[in-house]
């Protein structure tokens, strides 16, 4: 269906070849995962399939790509619209119409489909994707998972043979991600659609894919069945790391397979390790907090206390009130009722240097904080702001990500590097509390590890609390001491990470699913328990 022969790609004014001499072919009805570090060229590879690269972006392409027998060299992306459906990283930015139905019809209108065909296909897709209930709604008011389904639907109405998706679950909570992925699985199996997907959170997709294209960053590309590529790859999901750590004879991609391989470990009995006591110094006190936007109550009178040195993850579905809680704590959202105290002070009244010293905040789009022309200028600004020795911010940054050039423009940094830069700037104020809103979107495993280490170090050396909202269960398992689980504005669970994650099947990390009912969340938990065994 898709055939790459000796494809190389280079962008003008760039010395780095994005893709070098890549040859592979994908059969009809295959589901293929494209993985690689951030900035390795996954998106470019995906956009080569329908010719958006180089027709839309520029760049020099060598070799030939053909889709269903048509060479992308000779036709524009639009002429492939009925063969290749493409869903971008952020679906909201790709929507053309306001209303769900109209959005679905857009592609067919553009290709002058007759009216009766359009009506029929829109109905089909609405049913297939379970969007019938929202067909007249404005797209802007839908949830993240629904928007993603609309974007997939808009591609599907054209009856494409190939569906290309760029990180379709990165903004979704685990449940919505599951919905989208099982939908893709169904398309592959029932309709023989060929699916090519790029994703960082391998733990979510790995069980569904047939083959993997692994772009290794040094120009090398590995292609093969999932198990084969993952056996040697550097970026691997926890389930593979577990297999490696336990020296299992084979690697499995699904929980079921690995469970079968680890029966003997689960059969042993282990002494339960005692929990680490959390300090009783209360830093954040949330008391009967209610926040309303018009008629909508985002938080319904919640109360909690967060102590020094605690790393607390705020989890829950999209729209559960996570961001509202975070915003109230950093003082950007006033409470409708109730109160929030940070070190017995009202966070809404903090200003300037006092704010920098009290609360460090990393927003959902880290680049919101950046405006200087180079990494050097950003770091120098932070040094001046916080009256610390010149170069301290950059020194901290180079410890997080070595080999970063001072002259780089912040826009040219990879996602991971940019997050590291923002984190360094925020931490240069030496804040008494760190708050992060979904910090790990678009980060690969290596960048995520670095990030987790930096947060742990901050929390333990200064004995200060870290609060983060995230959908990333694996990160939470690795990092957090405690989980606050929100649903529709209420706290539905508040307890140690272990208790909360284990009790919810949807939010349990991979290792916990494999090792259930043993109380382990991460690979290191398992290894530690095995080492302590006499």
């Amino acid at each position: 269906m898709i055939k790459f022969s000796n494809v190389s790609l280079i962008y003008p004014h760039s010395t780095k070849t994005i893709i070098e001499d890549l040859t592979f072919s994908i059969q009809e009805g295959e589901m293929v995962l494209v993985m690689g570090e951030t900035g390795s060229g996954k998106s470019s590879l995906l956009r080569l399939i329908n010719g958006l690269v180089p027709h839309h972006t520029g760049g020099i392409l060598a070799g030939d790509i053909s889709v269903d027998g048509i060479s992308t060299r000779e036709v524009k992306p639009g002429s492939l619209a009925h063969i290749v459906g493409i869903v971008g990283q952020n679906p909201l930015n790709g929507f053309v119409a306001d209303i769900v139905e109209e959005e679905l019809a857009f592609g067919m209108e553009a290709l002058n489909f007759p009216h009766d065909v359009m009506r029929k296909r829109v109905e089909e897709v609405l049913d297939l994707l379970g969007l019938n209930a929202v067909r007249h709604r404005s797209i802007a008011t839908l949830s993240g998972g629904e928007q993603q389904r609309v974007a997939i639907g808009a591609a599907l109405v054209m009856h494409p043979k190939v569906l290309v998706l760029d990180e379709p679950t990165s903004a979704l909570d685990p449940i919505a991600a599951e919905e989208v992925l099982s939908l893709l699985h169904r398309l592959v199996h029932d309709l023989s659609v060929t699916v090519v997907i790029a994703e960082h959170r391998l733990e979510r997709v790995i069980q569904f894919v047939d083959r993997i294209i692994y772009i290794e960053g040094n120009g090398e590309t590995a292609i093969g069945p999932a198990e084969e590529v993952l056996r040697t790859a550097q970026l691997v999901p926890p389930i593979i790391r577990l297999a490696r750590a336990l020296n299992l004879s084979e690697v499995g991609t699904s929980v079921r397979e690995v469970r079968r391989l680890t029966d003997d470990i689960r059969a042993q009995t282990f002494e339960t390790t005692e929990k680490i006591a959390v300090s009783s110094d209360v830093v954040i006190e949330v008391d009967e907090l209610t926040i309303s936007y018009g008629n909508h109550r985002a938080l319904k009178g919640i109360s909690t206390k967060i102590g020094a040195g605690e790393i607390v993850a705020v989890m829950g579905r999209n729209g559960a009130g996570k961001s509202s809680l975070l915003q109230a704590i950093v003082g950007s959202q006033l409470a409708t009722k109730g109160s929030v105290w940070v070190h017995q002070k009202d966070p809404a009244l903090l200003k300037g240097a006092e704010r920098r010293r009290s609360i460090g905040y990393v927003p959902q789009e880290p680049s919101d904080l950046l405006y200087a022309q180079s990494v050097r200028a950003e770091c120098a600004q932070a040094d001046r702001d916080n009256e610390i020795a010149e170069g301290s911010t950059f020194a901290f940054l180079s410890r997080l990500v070595p080999h970063i050039s001072e002259e780089t423009h912040p826009n040219d940094l990879s996602e991971g590097q940019r997050l590291a830069l923002v984190l360094s700037i925020v931490l240069s104020g030496n804040p008494e509390l760190l708050v992060l809103d979904e910090p790990t979107r678009g980060l690969d495993y290596q960048a995520k590890n670095l990030f987790a280490l930096a947060l742990k170090e901050y929390a333990s050396t200064f004995n200060r609390p870290v609060l983060l909202a995230t959908h990333d269960v694996e990160l939470v398992a690795e990092l957090a001491h405690r989980v606050l689980f929100l649903a529709e504005g209420d706290i539905v669970a508040d307890g140690s990470t272990l208790d909360v994650l284990l009790s919810s099947p949807a939010f349990a990390p991979q290792v916990a699913k494999v090792m259930s009912p043993k109380p382990w969340l991460t690979v290191s938990d398992v290894v530690q328990a095995l080492e302590q065994q006499p």
């Binding site: 619209a81 930015n93 553009a110 920098r356």
Partner: protein, 247 residues
Amino acid sequence: MKRSLHPLTMWIWALLLITAVVLTDRAWVALGAIGVATVLVKVRSDGSPWGRSYWIALRIGAVILVIRAVVGVLIGVPIPGTTLFTFPIIDLPSWMPGIRLGGAVTLERLSSSLHEGLIIATVIALFGAATSLTSPHKVLRTLPFFIYEIGITLVIATSLFPQLAQSARRIRLAQQLRGHEKVSWRGLALPLLEESLSRSLQLAASMDSRGFGVSRKRSRYRPEKWQISDSAVVAFTLLVSSALVLA
């Protein structure tokens, strides 16, 4: 769901009212038109992102009203009448005859400035009401094909504005939380520009890959039909407006 009118109906309604307001040039007509528009927007707005544009237009109108009043009072030709208070007169060079800065402020001068401001504000508010009541996207869809191509470009440009405002708010907030109370224009403009550029590129890529512009002809998923209710609205407005103008 509310019964929907033809997309052009509310625009014709707004244009007729605007004509009436401008031609009659009376404050009570203008205030009446704003009143009617407010009620209609309250009742019929469908909660889409465009629904808020009326309230924004009202705010812009109010600002213009104030500016017009201040400018009218300070600069310009004096109108004789009851003097309310007097500003010191600032002498202007002799090559600017007939224009005066400061001087006596008469009741007549103040009221005529306010009146002009009100008319301008009403025109803006009525346009805002039309946008609130029918999304401009729907209007463009009804236009003939050769305009449609230009129209879709306009749609993209206009759909960026609400998003821009939202992004600007978000970025300003983030920087305030970094402890920078006074956000410099560079601090705001650079991230904003970067974001809107990348958004437009993504939108263009999405339209491109969905076949936009491939076929010279386009079909319509939901053809808009002109109905009796549309004719009724237009006829009624026409009647009222002409009665006001002729009276």
